[in-house]
Amino acid sequence: MTAEAVAYPEQQIKPIEVSPPSTRKKLAKYTLMLVGILELYAILMFMLTSMFESPPNIVTFHINLWQGFLSTRTFKETLIWALPIMMTAMGATFNERAGVINIGLEGIMLWGAWAAIFFSFTYNNFWAGIIGAVLFGVAISLIHAVMSITFKADQIVVGVAINLFAIGLTSVLTALIWRPGRSDYAPKVETVNFYSFPFIGPILEAIQFSRFFNIPVLGTILRFVPDPIAVLNNHNYILYLGLVLIPISHFLLFGTPFGLRIRAIGENPQAAATAGIAVRKYQYIAVVISGIYASLGGAFVTLRFGLFTENVIQGEGFIGLVAMIFGKWTIIGAVLSSVFFGYFIYLSSGLKLYGRLSQSIPDPLLKIFPYVIAMVALALIGKAKAPKHIGKPYDPTED
């Protein structure tokens, strides 16, 4: 057709410029930022220490602290602290991409934590606990879905109600079944030891960093580098399940028709509906997925020790939401920011626990830092990349 040439001259259809800034440059930028944040943290810790005792030697204080920042134990513990956050953040990515806000994930985590112990205790088997947690995750998230999707409730209010409901009823049930405040011990989830694997186990064991600590120079360097195998080793099944879910979730959301539809719905549900997609069905599925993820995160928290205590989930769900936002509504971003938050949450107790910080610093002051960091992160990201139709119930009769 000739009219094309008139209306849209060639240069007007702009090809998408595919020129990502070189990954190496990006990596360097983020590493530098992280180092900066950690150094800032170190300085703050120095000032805090000086408030409660005579100022320590700044150089040894620094070296000691940085060794703590980079130790194998720190990264291993980071994984443990990050996992529940990460599960919730990944789950939240699904429901927010489908246009539903789920503030209730914190409560669903609490249910997961409770149900895991209840079922593990009842059937004397931690697998039952994991399955029970998932069942409760599905059930509670369905309440959210029914209220927010079918009955077009204010999604945030529903979420808050679900959180309070979880706090109330889990403590009622705990008091009735066991005693007020906490449960009895239930079978805890088993851990995996790489070194006991046939064939590769001994090899992995042979290349542990700690074996080389006595070698001059190399040993000193290795003391400052976390040992990746040791970091990943000796965790429980749920943690590995979580790690496996990372690529699966990413692929599900960005590589399949299911994911494409979910993403389309969060941006423009009307468009999805006119393309023949059952909008609400997908929203239901997304909310249930997030419920399963969050309840697994909660199960991880309690099944590690086989014990449920009242209000055992202290903000992990909300930090998970922040991590999801900070990760710009992507799975990989959510995971990375969860690790970031998990790291700082660990530091707020671990540094002191293992003697990197003076015992005279009050715990509560250290514990404030992760929350402050989360707020700063939230302020930095704002609401720039949120799905466009988020938080509003989809109503097909609207124009």
């Binding site: 209306a7 001259p9 259809i13 998408i16 399949t256 494409l260 993403r263 389309a264 509906a273 393309a275």
Partner: protein
Amino acid sequence: MDTGPNQVAIVLENISKSFGKVRALSNVTIKVNEGEILALLGENGAGKSTLMKILSGLYQPDSGRILISDRWLSQLPESQRVKNQNGDITEGLHEITISNPREGMLLGIGMVYQHFQLVESLTVAENITLGDEIVKSKFVIDDELMFETIRTLSEKYGLPIDPKAKVEDLPVGLKQRVEILKQLYRKANLIIFDEPTAVLTPLEVEELFNTMQELKKAGKSMIFISHKLREPLAIADRIVVMRKGEVVGETTPSTTTMADLATMVVGKKIVSSAERAKTQTHQVLFEVRGLTLENPSSPKPLLNNISFKVHTHEILGIAGIEGNGQTEMVDTLVGLRKPSSGSIVFSPHEGQTVDFTSLSTQEILNSGIAYIPEDRGTQGLVQDFNITENVWLAFHGSPETAQKYAEGQQKTHNIQSKIFLPLQLMKTTSSKIVNTFNVKAQSINQQIKNLSGGNQQKVILGREFAKNPKLVIASQPTRGVDIGVMEQVHTNLINLRNEGAGIVLVSADLDEILKLADRIVILYEGQIVGEMNSGELDLEELSHLMISGTYSEEENTK
């Protein structure tokens, strides 16, 4: 093709539909033939959209049937064929049910919506295939095959497009093309175009019509919905006119005239009342110089070095395709956005100047200008406020203005309080506006959301004109209102101009600009690319400027 153009493709028979107490459609019957372009003409609220939503499966009719031809049925996928075969059969037509958009789609009914149903952040190909994705091994989206399929499809119908482009980066015309391709990808037999020309320039319209002719040759049936009169006459084979939920007439372009059509659509003769009076004393009232607004996420500015003047007794029309900086420009003029550079100077009286760039929105609005925002629902009104509270949105910063309007020199009410609302004055003002502008409402305490779009617009107009403005900044002042209210708005604007005010009129409706403006500037990609006086208009050039930002080549060589 072995079937003539008169072979019936689809029939909508005695369709009725109510929403609560409102009867949107009553006993509407229309039929469309194969390879025919049927125009459906009517005002806003005539029931066209509701009818089409029923046809596409978004709504269910309260009563009535939908029938399709044998031939059509035989082309359907197995599942749909079986499902609908058992319905009533009359004269080779089969009754069908369309319970949701997906079914409508499977039945081969597609709709190109006025408000594009596109997911901006996804690619062209993803948008086209959404809901019917191209996969390998069942679960994985096959990107390569998807891009290839869309490329082939677009070439087949002569609608070139880059399948990998993100929709948000495309101009309006191309977005519409994506919508058309979406329907072709789904093998639509009948394509409904819902007010497709509303957002297009005359040149783009011509191009769309070419596309439609091509589709007609390929045997597609089309329904073309419009409330403009000229376009159905140009493209349609048949024209059906609807009014207040009923079909009021049917005609063909060859047997009717614009005037007849207009009478049919409105139900009575429309007379324009106000005339732009010839006036002499022109002084510069409002001057924008070098206005630039940077885009934080792109090196290309949103507004680039915009300059224009508005004189007293003048309506300046800002023409352009939507999305070329109109919204940003108006926002900047009233202080909702701060310009990166440039000046905006308002001279309400000779020798007195106010620079808007250094003022807050509140101060700008207080300086004697009226502002009619682009989107009355979200920018102009607070839906859960009542009429009085909405009226007060224009006066809460300067109650004196309301006092002057409502009470003249009397000043009965004390409005000095910095803390309390002058409730009595609010009521008086609101009543006066409701009466003067003939707002149809039960009382001034009625919530604004219960008023019709036209009456809502009257409230906005009323409160803004009550400020007795020297300058009016009006953005899309007649969007979504019926012809009667449109006339009222136009009359008011012209009267205000005749009395000496200056008016900046931003409108996507070129007809409106041509009718009202004394002078027209054309906005393209955040720049002013041309200026014309209403006396010496060249529609061709205007179109060219709107679409490409340059004069046509002949112009340059002259």
